[in-house]
Structures are given as C-alpha cells and as structure tokens.
C-alpha cells in the first residue's frame, strides 16, 4: 500500500487538476431524501426565494458578461471542424484546452486510445491515436501520425511538410506522416518549460518528415513544388524527406548571420552606410531566393529565428529583416512565432509579411490589410483581398469580383491588370467560386495562343511565366516578385522558344 505521503500528494493532485467534479444535483437530492417519509424535516433555515433574490441581484452582471461573451464570440475565427469527442487543442493564441470545435490555426492532438473523426466543410477526416493535426481554411495540415481522408461534396486537402494530397469526393485516402524527431521530447530530461505550448519543442526539433499515402478508392493527387501527380487507387506512395544540401545550408546560415550583424550596425543617418545598406538588401534578397528554392533549409534555421524574434532585446531593424525571412516558412510554428511578435510592434511587419500571414489564415493582420483596400480598383486592393481570401476571409470579395472581368487581351501590354485578374481568380476560387480558375485558364490559353500565332513570343512568355505562379497547386501571393522569378526562369530567357512556351501553357491549363 502506498504511504500516506504518496496518497496525500495524490489527494492534492486531484484537488489541483480536477475541475468542478461536484454533482450540482446533490444538494436538492439530499433535500428530497431528508424530506422523504421516515426522515426528519430539515429546519427551514434557508429563507424562501433567497436564491431568486440573489439571482436577480446578479442579473446586470450576467447581462454584461453575456454581452462581452457575445462580442468575443463574434470576433473569434469561424469553426473549421468539429471533433466527435473533446480533445486536447493548442489554439492559435497559445491556449491549451479541451474542445470539440477547431478553428484556424488550432493544433489538435489525438491523444485518445481510439480513432477520432472530424467533420469538416469538405468531408470527414479520421485521425489515428497520436496524430497531430493543424486546421487551416484550405484543409488540414498533418504534422505527425496517420489520418484517413473521406471527402464529402468537395475536394479535401491535406498538407504534410513538403507535399499536399487532394482527395476528390468519394475517395478514401490514408496518409501517414512520420517526423524524424520523436513526437514528444523525453519527459524527465527536458528542461522545465513554463508555457503550456504543447508541442512547440517537438515542432522546433522536427527537421523533416516522410509521407506515406495510400489511396484506397476514388481519385486523389499529390501536389508538390514539382507539380501534380495523380495517385492511382490501391497504389501506395512513399515520399522520403528531402535531402538538405549542406553547402546551401551553410550559405543560408552565413547570409542570415550577416543580415543580423549588418542590420544592427546600420545607421541610416550616415551616408557612409549606404553601401552597407545595399549589401544588407542584397543579402536579404539572396537569402529569400535561396529559401524559396530550397524550403528544406528552413527547419534548421527555425529555432534561431524563433529565439531572435522572441527576444525583447533584438533591435527593431533586425526584427523587421528577420520577420521577412520567418514569413517564408510555411510551418505552422513559424506563423505562431510571427503572431506572438505582432503585439510587440506591428510596424515592423512590412506588407509582404502581412500578406504571408493573411494567406495562411492569421486574423491579426486583417485590419492592417483592409486599410490597403480603401481604393477598390488599386493593385494592392486586389492583392490584399486575394490573400485574405486564401486565409479564409471574404472581407475583400467586393474588390475581387470586378477584377474577374478584366479581359486578358487588354492585359497583354501591362502585367498589372493581368496580375489583378489572376489574383482575383485565386481569391474567388478560395471563397468557393468553382469557375474562377477554369475561366482564367481558358482565357490564358486563348490569349497566349493568339500571341504565339502572331509570333509575339515576348508577351506570350511573360504571361505564361506569371501564370506559373498563379496556377500552381496551393498558390501563394506574398513575395510575388521573387516567386515569379523562380517560377519558370527559362521563360524569361531572351532566346525563349515557342515550343517551350506552349509546353508550359499546356501544363498550366490542362
């Protein structure tokens, strides 16, 4: 038998951890039992209507609390999924709670012994015990463990590190995402953590994952940076983690260190520093391009960025530069780092960083982006509205709809109307307009076809190159110029050939 000290500790632990485990009906039940035949009647020491009077006294407070709760509920992000049973959830604002309702950015840990089903707008996802899921407006992000996708009326999208799987209605697809770091750090050897941020440590350690896909029935496709791959039913696919290029990683680390060091030294009042400023800008551009080309370099940099951005002592100028790098990371932990930094100084977040956060569903930057939409026909209005739409907000729908009517023939001499049309199509597609992207593809095919027939290779090539960004699976709108440069550099060559343009056009519009 346990000694008394041990049992007293358990008593204290129950007292500490158990919520209000009391039975609210016990007092009335006791009263009835005492009043039952054979039992003496209790003395009427409880005055009549005492509870009613107390309740009436509390009524104004209850009404005020209800009003506050109402405002809070209205401001909360919409529910994206409902779990069949309550489970442990790390919310986007860092709170740990048990709930059934999942919102954008929530990280759900299926810690029970059996499978757990989630009802989503696009169907159902059934998670195996141990699975770690993050909920996004576009679908789910599987961070670890196994999940079964059962789409309902529309496609269901599941992301896992370097690949996404799109399952069509009626399909049954199993995914298994294996982190290379243990899901949970060793409990007793780990340093004490004051925060309840459930898996921050795990995610900062997790460098890469391997993804196994088994489509049992129906249609599914794998979406990676290289393009779309159909997944035949019954054929398992195993994707190993991408190999990190050691030389590229060393280069990235050097650029990042230079960025920190040189930005800190910069004194913009001193003209002598203009050369250094140019160097810092070039370093940032090089690093941005490197990380966009090789996103597998981001996880090893993640922890350093997190620490710098969490430290109050980091100079504001350095913070601004680092935010631009952290915003390239699509991992949910990176978004959480940005969101934690936001309250300390929103001014440090430039427009591209705001776009990156908005398109991933962050509600924090929405008011800032909405101010860029005051001129509804401007380029920025459509871009902001489209990024908001990718993140699940329909605030800018009114700015997107007119841009859908832009004729691509009129855009052949100016890429800005072309971009507005494409961005509007992406945004409207994210908001549920199933025809927006097919119409863009058809128009693109027609206009580029005409340009090629006329021998206007230059115009045809730039149009297709920009379309390569907009029509890729899971498009992103932040850091657009860099994305366009990287999307299909061969199309920007002076001696670009018509067959190459046609080949790209076919790939983008089939």
């Amino acid at each position: 038998m346990k000694d008394h000290g041990e049992r007293l500790l358990e008593y204290l632990l129950r007292e500490h951890f158990a919520g209000d485990a009391g039975d609210a009906a016990l007092a009335p039940r006791l009263r009835r039992l005492l009043e039952s035949p054979g039992a003496p009647s209790p003395r009427p020491h409880v005055r009549q209507h005492r509870w009613l009077r107390q309740a009436l006294r509390l009524l104004p407070w209850v009404a005020a609390a209800a009003a506050v709760a109402g405002v809070w509920l209205l401001q909360r992000a919409p529910v994206l999924a409902t779990a069949e049973r309550p489970l442990l959830v790390l919310t986007a604002d860092g709170q740990l709670r048990r709930t059934q309702q999942l919102r954008a950015g929530d990280l759900a840990w299926c810690a029970e012994a059996g499978p757990l089903a989630f009802a989503l707008a696009a169907g159902r996802a059934v998670a195996e015990p141990g699975a770690l899921l993050r909920f996004e407006p576009a679908g789910i992000e599987l961070q670890a463990g196994a999940v079964q996708l059962l789409p309902g009326g529309t496609d269901l999208l599941a992301r896992c590190a370097f690949g996404s799987v799109r399952a069509a209605p009626g399909a049954d697809v199993r995914l298994h995402c294996e982190p290379d770091a243990p899901l949970i750090p060793d409990p007793l050897e780990a340093d004490p953590m004051r925060s309840l941020a459930l898996l921050t440590e795990f995610r900062s350690r997790s460098l890469a994952v391997s993804l196994a896909i088994l489509p049992l029935t129906g249609t599914a496709e794998l979406l990676t940076a290289q393009g779309r791959t159909p997944l035949p039913a019954g054929q398992a696919v195993q994707l190993p983690p991408p190999r990190v290029d050691a030389a590229a990683l060393a280069r990235a680390r050097t650029l990042l260190a230079n960025l920190r060091k040189d930005t800190d030294k910069l004194d913009l009042q001193d003209e002598q520093n203009l050369l250094l400023l140019k160097q810092v800008d070039e370093d940032q551009q090089d690093l941005t391009m490197l990380l966009m080309q090789q996103p597998e370099l981001l996880p090893p940099l993640r922890e350093g960025l997190r620490k710098d951005l969490a430290a109050a002592a980091t100079p504001p100028a350095v913070v601004g530069r680092l935010l631009g790098i952290a915003a390239l990371d699509t991992d949910s932990s990176a978004l959480a780092v940005l969101e934690r930094r936001w309250p300390l100084g929103p001014d440090a977040f430039d427009y591209q960083v705001q776009l990156a956060m908005a398109e991933r569903g962050s509600a924090l930057v929405r008011p800032a982006l909405q101010t860029t939409m005051q001129e509804p026909d401007s380029d920025l209005a459509v871009l902001s509205a489209a990024a908001l739409a990718l993140g699940g907000s329909d605030f800018g729908k009114a700015a997107l709809q007119p841009a859908l009517a832009i004729d691509l023939h009129d855009a052949a001499d100016d890429f800005r109307p072309f971009d507005r049309r494409a961005q509007a199509a992406i945004g409207m597609a994210a908001l549920g307009d199933a025809q927006a992207l097919p119409r863009l593809q058809a128009d693109l095919r027609a206009v580029v076809g005409e340009l090629l027939e006329r021998g206007d290779l230059g115009r045809a090539a730039w149009m297709v190159q920009r379309a390569a960004v907009y029509l890729r699976p899971s498009p992103r709108l932040s850091f657009l110029q860099q994305r366009i440069q990287l999307a299909a550099p061969e199309l920007a060559a002076k001696d670009v050939a018509a067959p190459l343009v046609r080949s790209w056009l076919d790939r983008l519009t089939r």
Binding site: M1, H4, G5, E6, R7, L8, L9, E10, Y11, L12, L13, R14, E15, H16, F17, A18, G19, D20, A21, G22, D23, L26, A27, R29, L30, R31, L33, L34, A39, P40, S41, P42, R43, H45, V46, L88, L96, A111, E112, A113, P129, G130, L183, I184, P185, P187, L188, A190, D191, P192, M193, R194, S195, L196, A197, L198, L199, E201
Partner: protein, 171 residues
C-alpha cells in the same frame, strides 16, 4: 446515529464547500472510484440526519471525514474491518497533520509552484490521471508509451513533486 435535530447550516453551503474535498478524501482513503459518489451522498445524508451542528467549515469537514471513514468501513467485510480501521485512523491522522493550521494552503502553494516547472507532457499525464481519472491505459496511449512506461513516468513524477514540495516547504 440520531435522526434529529436537523442540520444547522444550509445544505447547499455544506455540499458546495465540501463535496469536492470529500470525494478526494475518500479516494485518498482508498475508496474505489466507482463507489465514491454513493459514499459522498451517504456521508452528507448521514451528517444531515445526525446531531451535527454547524460551527465553521473546518469543523464541518472534520465531521464529514469521520462519517465518511465509518461508511467506508461498513462496506468492508467484518473480518477485514479491524485492520482497515487501524489503517483509516492512521490515514486520518496524516491527513489532519497535512491540513495543519492553514488548511493545507502552504502545501497547495508548493505544489502549484512545482507544477509550473514541469514540461507539458508531464502536466498532461497528471491532468489525465488525476484531473480526469483516466485509467493507465489511456494515459499510456496519450503519451505514446506502454502501460508500464506511463506507470513509471507517473511514479517518477510523484517522486519529483514530493522532493520539490519538500524543498519548498523547508525554506
């Protein structure tokens, strides 16, 4: 046990103040989880039907503990009752010492401070086991370890908490 007079304190107050502590106390004494609710109700009922007179909450909790121990004893077969009675009285003595002069508040503070030092996984294990009364199998599944691993983790955690609390209480 006398059936009169009726209680001197409102039933609601007595239940609201002591119900949770009484449940935890019965678990501390070793009462099976399945019978705790019945025992709590019987304890209150027996108290309210007795000549109990409310003076203050500390005395009321002492009264309730005595009744709860007797009721727990009544559930056991007579042959084993004597040994259990000795055990229960020893447990009560330890419990009363734990409450001390401050109703156990110093220990609660020490526990809270020690819990703050634990990483999330360990807190989860404690939350499941003691907050939700989860069986070891469920704790093990949640931690992605075997049953023995969960048991071992909880034991090491309790040991660590005891040492931490002891250190804090001796300061």
């Amino acid at each position: 046990m006398s059936l009169s007079p009726p209680p001197a304190a409102p039933i609601e107050h007595l239940v609201q103040t002591h119900q949770r502590s009484l449940r935890h106390y019965l678990r501390y004494l070793g009462a099976p989880a399945a019978s705790v609710d019945d025992l709590v109700q019987e304890t209150f009922l027996a108290t309210l039907r007795s000549d109990f007179t409310f003076t203050n909450d500390a005395a009321a909790f002492g009264w309730l503990r005595t009744v709860a121990r007797r009721l727990l004893l009544q559930q056991v077969k007579s042959a084993a009752r004597r040994g259990l009675q000795v055990e229960l009285e020893a447990a009560e003595a330890a419990f009363a010492a734990h409450l001390g002069d401050d109703d156990g508040e110093a220990r609660r503070d020490a526990l809270r401070a020690c819990l703050q030092q634990l990483p999330p996984r360990q807190l989860l294990a404690l939350q499941l086991r003691y907050g939700e009364d989860a069986p070891l199998q469920r704790v093990a599944a949640a931690l992605a370890v075997g049953r023995a691993g969960a048991e071992s983790l909880l034991a090491r955690l309790r040991q660590r908490l005891r040492e931490c609390m002891q250190g804090r209480l001796q300061r």
